[in-house]
Symmetry: C2
DNA sequence: TGGCGCTATTGAACAAACGTCAATAGAGTC
DNA sequence: GACTCTATTGACGTTTGTTCAATAGCGCCA
């Protein structure tokens, strides 16, 4: 498990070291734990001293935030933006990409959500921005705005729909209830126009 | 702040003491803090010794869980079930009661949500059950089931709608965006039939 | 090639907080 | 007023987050 079995210290460039430590953090994320793991253990797993983690991230909280930021960026990057003129197609494909990401990365995604929802202001903001990025890029090119008009009410609905999607997909992962991939994608994607129409 | 300014100890019945400590916990909940507060401080605020908290709740986690359970029960109790033959009326009134509870108890409710979402399995389960109680009592009496049929898909949708409602109301509390109480109640209540129809 | 300097890295030391347990002292009873 | 039962305490051991002066790897220059 340890990255440095030989007794001597290994000197890396700050960027390399930072990446390594962050990588370990994300890995632990997908193994479920991380917040209940002590700094000592983190250092042990990484094969470095406690002090080094503090040197790079300032505090345990700082390390945790950096890892969450990394995971959130990964989510946004992996669910690549689709480029289609039809808004509904973009919506459908984005939801499909999101579902696939969650399926392929369930543990890590659960950890991310938990960290964001239960953490401090900074952690929540990180996840909030990721969420906004995820939805915003679906509508950004919707010049017409006739299907999804840009009003305060729809902004609220879109935001709350994100929570709907998150809960629906995670719940489905845990207990598919006979619904297949296409089914959950359809439920989540179709929900948005329905919600906007109902709120209008 | 302290409940016991005189030096001597005060002996209460276990039930009284338990209630007092739980009451303090819920109070701290509505002040925002509690998880980042130490057991020493908790004991100081309550005017008792550290050991007493361990005697009653076993661990800090145990105390935290008891407080969350108390807050969740309060939520379910305060948003009293409405007794109306019309399902849609029950839905609307339930949502209204929920909105009013969140408004009147915003800090505490936010703490509850954060604790549940970010906490361990036990904490999540506590909140999960409360959520289920909140929605289940709206539909329990719906014998006909023609408006909201009882299928795996609708169960999933109802569950996810809870998240939608939570996010919508909390977001609205923070930033009303010109929407009034009736408006947010309508958006959240109307969302459910719309979602069920879209998923059907 | 060998010494030198910069800085990445370490580990001992400190403080704060969790959890345990044998001793203590209220409150009701006879 | 003594006695018993048990609610309550506070000192102690352990774990964990954090700091900082000392150490040593790696590139550079002679």
């Amino acid at each position: 498990m340890s990255a440095n079995t030989s007794g001597g210290r290994t000197r890396l460039s700050p960027e390399q070291r930072r990446d390594q430590l962050l990588g370990m953090g994300v890995e632990l994320f997908s193994n479920g734990s991380i917040e209940e793991i002590s700094i000592d253990r983190l250092a042990e797993v990484a094969g470095v001293s406690r002090g080094l983690l503090y040197h790079y991230f300032g505090s345990k909280q700082g390390f945790y935030e950096a890892v969450v930021r990394h995971a959130a960026d990964d989510l946004v990057a992996q669910t690549a933006p689709v480029d289609d003129p039809d808004l509904l197609v973009r919506l459908h494909r984005s939801v499909a990409a999101y579902v696939d990401y969650v399926v392929a990365n369930e543990q890590g995604y659960r950890s991310l959500v938990r960290a964001a929802a239960g953490g401090n202001e900074t952690l929540r903001q990180i996840y909030d921005e990721a969420r906004f990025a995820l939805t915003d890029r679906i509508f950004r090119e919707d010049a017409a705005g006739d299907l999804i008009p840009d009003t305060p009410a729809t902004r609220l609905v879109v935001r709350a729909w994100s929570s709907f999607a998150e809960e629906a997909v995670l719940s489905w992962c845990e207990q598919p209830r006979g619904i297949d991939r296409a089914g959950i994608v359809r439920i989540v994607a179709d929900a948005l126009p329905a919600l906007v129409a109902a709120a209008g």
